[in-house]
Symmetry: C2
Subunit: 182 residues, 2 copies
């Protein structure tokens, strides 16, 4: 979508609908036929990206029987998805906290809930099996995804000289050692 490039270059607020019109060749009427408004357009874009990310995430996670392998796979997957879809990653990263995502996201909430639920199932299995520590839910997300998000953020800004392979090693090791049952 042309809107993605516009939003990434200029930012959501700075991108006039007229620019999206030009870049995409669509008319005002057409745009407003497909999307209720600019926010919804942005939200639709966001959802498209996040669904793609989540789909791969679950695929990689559920492919792992082994707890440690699962955690490592997630870290590698996250970094490679970001590397392969930098435009999307930038956009998702920016829009994640956008006020209207929460409101405008019936579909998004559903997707997120399902996503969390599936991950939860995987984790519970390994917790019962004594491979992963029993921790409050919030803490899993914080320990596993927090460092990934933070690293990704600086990497996307181009502030990182580190290659993803090395980063993956550090981050996976750290995540695993904080989550594993010791």
């Amino acid at each position: 979508m042309a809107a993605l490039r516009c939003f990434n270059e200029l930012g959501y607020t700075e991108t006039p609908v007229s620019l999206i019109r030009k870049k995409s060749g669509a008319s005002t009427g057409s745009i407003y036929h497909h999307f209720k408004n600019k926010e919804r357009l942005a939200a639709t874009l966001y959802i498209e990206g996040i669904l793609d990310y989540q789909k791969g995430y679950l695929k990689h996670l559920s492919a792992c029987q082994n707890a440690k392998a699962g955690i490592f796979a997630i870290v590698r997957y996250h970094l490679s998805w970001v590397t392969e879809n930098p435009e999307w990653a930038i956009y998702l990263n920016r829009m994640r906290h956008a006020e209207f995502m929460a409101a405008s996201g019936e579909q998004l909430n559903k997707a997120n809930a399902d996503f969390i639920h599936e991950i939860g199932a995987w984790f519970r299995g390994h917790i019962k099996a004594g491979k992963i520590r029993k921790l409050p839910v919030e803490i899993y997300a914080a320990l596993l995804m927090g460092p990934l998000q933070e690293y990704t953020r600086t990497w996307l800004r181009g502030d990182s000289a580190l290659n993803h392979g090395d980063a993956a090693a550090y981050l996976a090791e750290a995540a695993w050692s904080s989550l594993k049952q010791s």
Copy 2:
């Protein structure tokens, strides 16, 4: 500032300057005399918040001679600042990724650079002393702040039943074990 409440309630884009006018009692002219435009107003607010956060951060960190104590202090500080300044925390959290922060932030970049520099100094000391592992810079931020940001985010959305004392314990322990020289 009244603008803070408006932005938090409605979101930046959804908040018309006219509303800020009403809530704050200031006139259009007055607002535009003090701030170049709406973005700058938002950025000024952001900077005010982040400076307060950073000031306390450095105070707590530099008060600790001991590496482990420092890491634990940061975790506690972060959580208590967020608890005590939820409005600010919500705002900073949302605006962190806002496109215009980067651009509109001469002053902000300076503040961030100084902040990073001071933290770096503290870390380097403890790395030399063999207390903290030698890791790429990006990784420190990811491992220490990533989980805090992620946890904070869910807590601010009200999705967490966990109390901060418990959270602090988990997060501090995890951060320390991934950073310490073993």
